[in-house]
């Protein structure tokens, strides 16, 4: 179970990083 939660945390972080990068590289993204 603990391993499951660690895996989940890593997935969440990965999704966060992918979300961030996909926003930043999308043309038209207004950082302001």
């Amino acid at each position: 179970m603990a391993a499951f939660f660690v895996l989940l945390q890593m997935i969440t972080m990965a999704v966060g990083i992918v979300t961030f990068l996909s926003f930043v590289i999308t043309p038209g993204f207004n950082y302001n």
């Binding site: 969440t12 972080m13 966060g16 207004n30 950082y31 302001n32």
Partner: protein
């Protein structure tokens, strides 16, 4: 697309939006890095003004924050759901179905978070542009005409949403009267 500079007097602090973004991606390390990036952005905005555009974009910083917040909510939700599935000791097929439902809800919360954040950011950008427009006009009048008139224009811009229409109408009327004479 017209761009203006918005003067801001927000005191630079590490408690800013970049800190939120950093925290939502990687707590602690992200918090520190994000906090410092945001602080230098705020310093820059204080010195040079914030660039604001006439066309507010739905795809803005708040959309990103909303999406990341949705991802965090999903993380908590999936964690609770996993514990519940384990406790319920479901047989493999119902357990897989429950997992699929939870995953769909997780993706949904990212989308919903991004949508709410994006809409909020869009109206913030719009308000910032209006404020920058006011600052630019008032500053120009203060420089070219007189500080008193600039103050009066600022007052009417703040208290009368249709001030521009009124000014235009008054000018047209004055021009018409001038010609009639």
């Amino acid at each position: 697309m017209s761009e203006l500079k918005l003067k801001t007097n927000a005191e630079p602090t590490i408690f800013n939006k970049e800190m939120v973004i950093g925290t939502l991606i990687a707590p602690v390390i992200g918090t520190i890095i994000g906090g410092y990036i945001g602080k230098s952005r705020m310093k820059d905005e204080m010195e040079h003004g914030k660039t604001v555009s006439e066309n507010p974009s739905f795809w803005n910083k708040d959309t990103l924050i909303g999406g990341l917040a949705g991802n965090f909510v999903a993380y908590i939700g999936v964690k609770v759901a996993l514990a519940a599935i384990t406790l319920a000791a479901l047989t493999p097929i119902p357990a897989l179905l429950a997992l699929a439902a939870v995953s769909a809800a997780a993706v949904g919360s990212i989308v919903v978070g991004a949508y709410i954040g994006g809409k909020a950011g869009e109206s913030r950008l719009k308000a910032e542009y209006e404020e920058a427009k006011k600052q630019t006009i008032v500053e120009h009048i203060g420089r070219t005409t007189s500080p008193e008139i600039a103050k009066a224009v600022e007052y009417s811009m703040e208290h009368n949403k249709e001030w521009g229409k009124q000014v235009a109408e008054d000018r047209l009327l004055a021009a018409a009267q001038e010609q009639a004479r």
